[in-house]
Amino acid sequence: MCDSLLSRARASAVRETAHAIDVAASAWVARVDRGLTEAEQAVLEKWLAGDSRRAGALMRAQATWVHTDRAQAFRGSHELRESPRARFWRRAMPWASAATVLLGLATAFWDWQGQARTNPATAMGEIRQVPLADGSRLTLDEQSRVSVQYETATRRVRLEFGEVLFEVAKDPKRPFVVQAGNIRVRAVGTAFVVRRHADGDVEVTVSEGTVDIWRETTIPEPAVRLAAGNRTLVTTKAITVPVKLTDAQLARAVAWSVKVIDLDGRTLGDAAAELNHYNSRTVVIADQRLAAQTVVGRFQATDPMAFAAAAAAMLDAHVRIEGDRFILEPGPSPQK
């Protein structure tokens, strides 16, 4: 494949453009969608064999086709639906007017907001942060769903499935209650992870503050208090004895929710400033010219050391550690 890439680059005058391949790939996806005949199947295979880029273009078009399934979210949108059968071919304006698009966007945004307030969910591989009106924040791990029901007296969130980190804003008058089946976890101002297993068992890990756990049963049951650093498993039978986690175990328990800073061509100075918001140990750029260089990559917001080391490697600089500060200076390390 690489050889073909090279030879193609050399003979660039005669090769098929990426655009032409993309157009053909879309046509194939439409044919696949309605079902291929055996003859077409053979033609498709021949087409694919002709150029290594074609399989990629087809895969990408197919992925986009699947991606548009998400448009189901706009099913109720009259803007997108409007064109009825009768007007099918007689539409004067082939393109939606700017106003329609804007209105549509506003509607879509509103719909989405409404949805986020009631039951945000995540797909496979997706992690999502959901800020709530009171300043609390939910971080949903992949394949999770909650339903948020804020009432005047109580903030209720039902965990339907998956795993969620709850960072609860303090409000003693309005307790925050997580429901997972008949299991309840109540907090005032704290951070904790609730994970609902497929079998209904619920695991609760507290990283800050305390929570009360009980089950809604016919016979009232005393709540069990769980303090920071502890984990317990609640089954249909009982609330098991809490286990004290080590710091490392606790860090692992919430590791999936760690904030990541995505740098795509921002200056090193900007990046360091953003990173420093999250940490007591700061990254200092000693040189103006260095600070203006651009950096690319994903960094954990809470790991300034890794960021400094990566930036140094990228930009021909070195890191000098001075107390709580990682100082980036231009040029190779003087020790070398």
Binding site: C2, A27, V66, T68, D69, R75, S83, D264, A292, A310
Partner: protein, 193 residues
């Protein structure tokens, strides 16, 4: 249907499509003269498509960039015309991969907004067919019967609509990048301001 696996497409849609703007903007910076960004992207997808459908890739982003990087490295190795400067520059940018971590946070809202925009901009006939196919889950045959047009026309409209959506999503990506590109060009020379 061995060629287009829906499962694989779903995985790509969730894990790779959202990364494409980043890959594209990165490729713009590292692609040596003689190679095209669009070709590299298609080749990268081709590599992903050739994986067994059940292979689990733990870090899609690192993996995707690794694929693109290998394609470029192979080109540089085989090429006799690439200058030392290009090699050094490319090698330097590759170092940034050290910092890639597997975490990925998507902005679901931004993605939906983009998608809405793309559909809203489809010409009327394309959009009608598209909406019936995707919102109402009607097969192409049923759409043709309902609209009293040929199945062939439905297929053409779907193909065109999909093509426009792919293109629109790309345009948005390229537009968003222009600032980044300027910034990196500036920082390479002496800063203007």
């Amino acid at each position: 249907m061995p060629i287009v696996s829906t499962e694989r497409a779903r995985w790509l849609a969730a894990n790779i499509l959202p990364l494409e703007p980043q890959l594209r903007s990165w490729l713009r910076r590292v692609t040596p003269p003689g190679l095209e960004v669009d070709d590299l992207i298609q080749e990268s997808y081709a590599k992903l498509a050739s994986l067994p459908a059940d292979s689990r890739i733990a870090h899609p982003k690192a993996y995707l960039f690794q694929i693109a990087k290998r394609l470029i490295s192979a080109y540089i190795r085989h090429s006799t015309v690439i200058s030392i400067e290009t090699m050094a520059e490319t090698a330097q940018l590759f170092v940034s991969e050290v910092a890639f971590t597997p975490e990925r946070i998507l902005s679901g809202r931004q993605e939906l907004e983009r998608l809405y925009d793309a559909i809203a901009r489809l010409p009327g006939p394309c959009r009608t067919v598209f909406v019936m196919r995707k919102f109402d889950d009607m097969p192409q045959k049923a759409i043709a019967a309902e609209l009293r047009i040929s199945e062939n026309t439905v297929e053409k409209l779907i193909s065109r609509g999909l093509r426009m959506i792919v293109e629109y999503l790309q345009l948005r990506e390229q537009h968003g990048e222009s600032d980044v590109r300027l910034a990196s060009v500036e920082s390479k020379g002496q800063r203007g301001a």
